[in-house]
Amino acid sequence: MSDGTMDRVARATPTKVARKIRGLSDRAIAWIFVAPTIFLLLAINIFPLIWTIQLSFTNYRANRVGREVKNIGLRNYERILTDSDIWLNMQATAHFLFWTIFFQVLIGFTLAYLINKNFRGSPFWTTVIVLPMMLSPAVVGNFWKFLYQPQIGLFNYIVSFFTGKDPSSFEMLGQVNLAPWSIVIVDTWMWTPFVMLICLAGLRSIPDYIYEAAEIDRASKLRQFFTITIPMVLPFLMLAVLFRGIENFKMFDLVVQLTGGGPGSTTELTSINLKREAFEKWRTGYASAYAIILFVTVFGLASIYVKALNNVKER
């Protein structure tokens, strides 16, 4: 008598259940297995999405339960798309997104390249480098607030040391021209290790024999870098950009801690503005339309990007 896993499972199944299952087709069994997941997906993703779309055409306010809800057509969309303040929020988000990704890729790849050289103490430095991303964004926001403090902040003193400028003569979080960069710096500090780790995985996946073959062909180090390293790491790098792009598009906690969207509305990213509309002003219908616009934007951009990523991988 055989005693494999399948046999043990078959024996353990109660006779009544076994009889019922025996009468079901493979397709039906497959549906039974995926049904809970589909149900969950419908309940927590699809239904809210459909409801949000429906609400976006109304003047509904979640804090006015008894108020008549009117269908106002595309009025919310029209208001949002013609609101110059919202376009400024979009610009602030684009600035944040572009520069954080740019610096994180640049520094992250450089660090990964150096760490990959396996010098003495590289495991220790890897651990030190990844520390920032292990911290809570609220904690990071708070202590960078102190670092940026014009009178006692270390950041200002370091800048002062190198430039000779009076430390209290500039305010990273309070000046319109500096505040957008202050949040870029903190996000880069925190999330560059993430990009580094992905790049490191990419670098370590390149087989040594490719470099050995290139050496035999007398390819220079620079040539090896551009024709082997970069193309082979590129899919990993693009994946890191996708992750960081999606993550930073919905950036909220870190920036709220640091600047609260200020000074004025200089660092008010779309997610902060959306939260204010939805849960402080309680303009639920308007905020739903806003969320749909952002969703379509991210979904559209991500789809194009994923297509490009697949093309790179297929090369």
Partner: protein, 438 residues
């Protein structure tokens, strides 16, 4: 026999009166986390002993207080049985059915609103404004006031330097412009080998900070929300020449007389700046004054207080709150019992003693009140001329619009004062149109 009769009478009395008392309950009172809240915990011990109810407290830090509590109310939450909510919430609390209307209860228990300071009843209890429809009992009178380093103001060298610089005597400011002049005098001045700054004012962006700060300048200049109360006609009132001048004044104050990095500061930052000896003057709510006076480093002889200085008129920004029974509470009887107890003049007197600001006339009109604390007289003066922000159900939307427009102009230095106020009217008009009031 006499003892037996007394016992029987007592038992009879108890059996008659007990049904009107709620069974012993666990009550939760929600408020902001600040000094007066600690005083209320102390005060409420008496209520626990008298009533047999247990009091629990949910105190939320100010920056998150409105967010947290309004979400709680909007979701019909049962966390709070009693809520000491901000004055601006009264419209929403009443119209959205969050607060229990207290008129019948007041009538039944003989609680008269005439026993409380009229300004506090108007601001904390009534909706629609000024009508005899009560949704809260005035719990904590408050206004935005000022405090300063009395020890610095009294130093001969500083007084002489001020006289030389301005030609005037250094004293408690009698006008907004004098306030700025004094603050500018202290800005970046060396005192005891340390660089100090003029004044700490409110510039916070996220909740209500900069609005509460700037209205302390707007109101004395004569700013009005509407040309005719209740008409929502804001053109010419919100952006009047006086309002523009006041807003420009506040920006000048921010730019020339506050410590560096003071771009997002509210109550906590103001207290820190003063207690660390960084500023000569600071604005803050009267609620903090007992704690400031008791501070061993900068309190006592080193501190004094003054009411928000007038300019075209005397005016202060209203703070403070009323206490309401939450409509979603299952323990409304016990909660009402607390309000009845709290309205008692003896309890109100003790409330003031512990550091709370009673709004009860028996306390405020007591001959010894003004001398009871160094800031008591200023408090009375301030409460005589308080003005509050919109108390409409859409107050949060109105407030956020003002936060944005004022912060954009004052801190981010974008546009002109006229443009900021014009845009504010546009925002508020849109809100009132959505509300069906325009």
């Amino acid at each position: 026999m006499k003892t037996k009769t007394t016992a029987m009478i007592a038992a009879l009395t108890a059996s008659v009166s007990l049904p009107s008392l709620a069974a012993a309950e666990d009550l939760t009172l929600c408020w902001a986390a600040w000094d007066p809240a600690n005083a209320l915990v102390e005060l409420s011990k008496e209520f626990e002993a008298e009533s047999g109810h247990t009091m629990n407290f949910e105190f939320v830090p100010w920056p998150n207080f409105a967010d947290r509590m309004l979400n709680e109310l909007n979701s019909g939450g049962k966390l709070c049985d009693l809520l000491i909510g901000d004055s601006q919430w009264i419209g929403g609390g009443a119209e959205n059915g969050h607060y229990v209307k207290l008129n019948d209860f007041f009538d039944a228990e003989g609680i008269s609103m005439d026993d409380f300071a009229p300004a506090t009843v108007y601001a904390y209890s009534t909706w629609p404004k000024g009508t005899p429809n009560y949704y809260a009992l005035p719990a904590m009178g408050d206004a935005n006031g000022w405090f300063y380093r009395k020890d610095w103001f009294e130093r001969d060298d500083i007084k002489a330097a001020y006289k030389e610089a301005t030609g005037e005597d250094l004293r408690e400011p009698q006008s907004q412009k004098e306030l700025l002049q004094i603050a500018q005098f202290f800005q970046e001045r060396e005192i005891d080998g340390k660089t100090v700054y003029g004044a700490a004012i409110f510039t916070e962006r996220g909740s209500e900070g900069i609005t509460m700060g700037v209205t302390s300048a707007l109101y004395p200049w004569g700013f009005k929300y509407e040309n005719t109360p209740g008409s929502y006609d804001m053109e010419g009132a919100v952006n009047s020449p006086e309002a523009v001048e006041a807003l420009e004044f506040y920006k000048e104050f921010y730019q020339t007389a506050t410590p560096p990095g003071y771009t997002n500061s509210y109550m906590g930052e103001s207290l820190d700046a003063f207690k660390s000896g960084q500023v000569a003057m600071a604005m803050n709510w009267f609620a903090f004054f007992p704690g400031l006076y008791a501070d061993p480093a900068t309190g006592g002889d080193k501190i004094d207080f003054f009411v928000n200085p007038p300019q075209n008129q005397a005016a202060s920004t209203l703070g403070g709150q009323g206490i309401s029974v939450v409509a979603y509470s299952d323990k409304q009887d016990a909660a009402l019992e607390y309000i009845k107890w709290f309205s008692n003049p003896d309890v109100q007197a003790k409330w003031w003693e512990l550091g709370g600001y009673s709004a009860h006339n028996a306390v405020l009109n007591d001959p010894g009140f003004v001398a009871s604390q160094p800031f008591a007289g200023d408090f009375l003066e301030a409460m005589d001329a308080v003005q509050d922000f919109w108390q409409e159900p859409a107050y949060a939307e109105l407030l956020l619009a003002m936060q944005k427009r004022i912060h954009d102009y004052v801190v981010a230095d974008q546009g002109t004062a006229q443009e900021a106020l014009d845009k504010l009217i546009e925002d508020w008009t849109e809100t009132f149109e959505d509300e069906g009031k325009l």
